[in-house]
Amino acid sequence: MTGRMARVLAVIAAVLAPAFGPAAAHAEAGIQARGRVVEETLIDRQTREISSQLRCVVCQGLSLQDSPSQLAQEMRAIVREKLEEGMTPAEVKAYFLDRYGEWVLLAPEPKGFNLLVYVMPVLMLVGGAGFVFFKARSWTKPQDVPETADV
């Protein structure tokens, strides 16, 4: 049994390793400079993070990061400029919020009325879990007697 188990696990590891590999390699990519390779900077990463939380204003539901549209590219460039000027990521987000309103944030700010959209699913899950648990217990309990009597 253990021999077979080891074999099975080895197969899993072999399947998963290539998927994980590049990620590990990626972490080191910043250090190696081979020829004319364009490297990623902190600003690049911050631009990407901010852009994926903002809505592409000419698209429908896509983030600034994901949209290949021209305006989205220009807005990404603005994000980058603001970061290069020394604004913090939070300030850059505030800049867009200021111009476009809450609509530009892909996840609503968790405050006030918006809290509902975050809280209600959790309440529903917790309440539902309680309901299911008590229901299941009531189904297991009272009929135990006739059941055993039948058997």
């Binding site: 505030a94 800049y95 111009r99």
Partner: protein, 210 residues
Amino acid sequence: MNWKRSAVGVGISVPILALLAFGMTKNPNVIPSPLPGRPAPEFALPVMDEPDTVRLADLRGNVVVLNFWASWCLECRHEHSDLSMAARLFEPQGVRFYGVLYNDTPTNGRTWIREMGGQYYPSLVDEGSRTAVSYGLYGVPETFIIDQNGTVVHKQIGPITLSRLSALIQPLLDEPPAPAVPVGGDEAAGTGVTDDAMEAVAGDAAEVTS
């Protein structure tokens, strides 16, 4: 059938349907702008085909109409003659009209203006859409009306008409808003208005003091 419970069913259905019906009355493509009532974002843009640069800060005391347009925009064609007409009407009273070319090349813009039989007011070139984004633009045409103090009074999404323009501009000319009190840098920082808008206010203050 238990009709009392059935009534509960109706009670559950109604709010859901009401919400959807409410949704149908709203156009998902019209997103209200937070700009009206706030200082208009500052800009300095080159005039198409001319060596000049237009700075919003230089236009204090004038009502400014800023119309974002593009040659590829179909609806811009519908509002073009109304805008030119309004410009002709209100220019003598000190209202300044500017077009801002959005996401387009000056060559295309020039051809378009020729096709449309000219444009009464100058158009500005917004390289990289910096000004468009600072005005929270998400499509063309959009038109901003800015009062004598540099405050955004109205943002029009979609084509604008002559009567709408008159209705928005005339009250500003009849009763100009009280000139803005020059604000110190400290106070401005306290308002929470960021960068461009703040620069605009600061620029204003500098002018007054100098």
